[in-house]
Symmetry: C2
Subunit: 294 residues, 2 copies
Amino acid sequence: MSPVVTPFDASLAVDPARLLNQCRWLLSQQVGLAVFGTNSEANSLAVSEKTALLDALLEGGIEPAWLLPGTGCCALPDTVALTRHAVSRGCAGVLMLPPFYYKGVSDDGLFASFSEVIQRVGDARLKIVLYHIPPVSGVGLSLELIERLLAAYPGTIAGIKDSGGAWRHTSAMLERGWDGFRIYAGSEAFLLKTMRAGGAGCISATANINPAAIARLRQNYRDTDAEARQAELNAVREVIMRYPMIPALKAVIAEGNGDPEWLRVRPPLVSLDEAQAKALSAELRAVGFSIARD
Amino acid sequence: MSPVVTPFDASLAVDPARLLNQCRWLLSQQVGLAVFGTNSEANSLAVSEKTALLDALLEGGIEPAWLLPGTGCCALPDTVALTRHAVSRGCAGVLMLPPFYYKGVSDDGLFASFSEVIQRVGDARLKIVLYHIPPVSGVGLSLELIERLLAAYPGTIAGIKDSGGAWRHTSAMLERGWDGFRIYAGSEAFLLKTMRAGGAGCISATANINPAAIARLRQNYRDTDAEARQAELNAVREVIMRYPMIPALKAVIAEGNGDPEWLRVRPPLVSLDEAQAKALSAELRAVGFSIARD
């Protein structure tokens, strides 16, 4: 899956038509839609912007079964509102950050947070993919917390996106073998390892620009050339990682689509300048990556 | 000033009547109202809850000149909405966090954030007290950023609350002597030092429970017994700091008011348990602090 980047118009308002276009292209590349993730600038969007965008995607013909919108906010009422909306629209599930303003909070407090959301939404269709990304959120999800949640809400706690960057944590979860719990690497750098250990795939920012190759490795991870395919993914990812991630993804999409509107980010992020965008483009071509879209 | 703690009812909804009561009491103790600060659990409240609470305080007779509501959110539209609302109601100013989800953002990006808010609010009455609290927000405000903002918006950038915990940073700002820029310590532990160096006072969580003594030291910091008064404030603060801050403040207010409703916090925070509340109370009495309110 891809945390789909969010396009903005000249007034920095969200641009539903371009988002729909990106979503359709990702689906055509066999990649699902984790809209409103970290790399979607989701936390730079108001609740009402996210509900309106989700509705625009559905009205544009995107099947809700392909959608895993991010719904975790700092404030309980916001998380409940977004989650309820996603469930009511039939989305496959939601990707849920813990409340992330207060740091050093206890597992008891985090358990209570997820619990309150689940109880307030009160819908058996709710499927939550937990979102572990302590380098950004500052609030991690321990194995003990996940086990408590699974025990209390076995039909609802459906999986986790592990963007902690530590294979040890992903691996420890995979070893637990929690029944029906889907473990997604937070980046395709860990895709092959994750698949070999029984994981579900990855939800990765770079899937915005390199979706087909990532989806192919997930599908064919048992092939003899899987290591070589992983190395190719890594080469592209390593280029992107030398730039600020979200502006870099948008620069590649802008070039690939011949559409500079895609360059915009909301503050506090800053777009790549022209020199950076050119250098990125040259570095990607040097590793054999094709920027132009069909 | 006090970042006024926010009371919740049994359904975890905000409780305007109890907040109004706490605000009136703080004003009677000569302490101003930085509602919706970190210790107000402001980031656990939805935008609509904050606008409604502010209106309830004004309808309850609180003068807007005593109010410095926190308005900084992750998402630009939310910060604009809250700031515009506070300005329209005549509040003395606003306390503004930078957008705090994305970490490692540049001064250019933070400048653009504050700039967008100021331009979108577009009201000469707007006075911003910047909110520097990197231990919680994860996003600090550099001296260079503050200078850029002051140069661009001299009538609007009115001061800073420095909750970084590093006297070096507060001191560096005080030494710059920026004209008309009000520097508030983020805790009364630095109150005397701040006042002696030309600062404006402090905005401190413990002012929720120890307001009169803090206000008195600010007023009388030139007195010969000021060091002794600072030591008394520190003794109370050091007790509180041995507990989770917000639950501890609420436990003291609950005991002081004989009103256990005050104990509630929103997840991810957790209330003190009975044993903790008793121990806190005993420790406070041991340093000569009187919990009961007049």
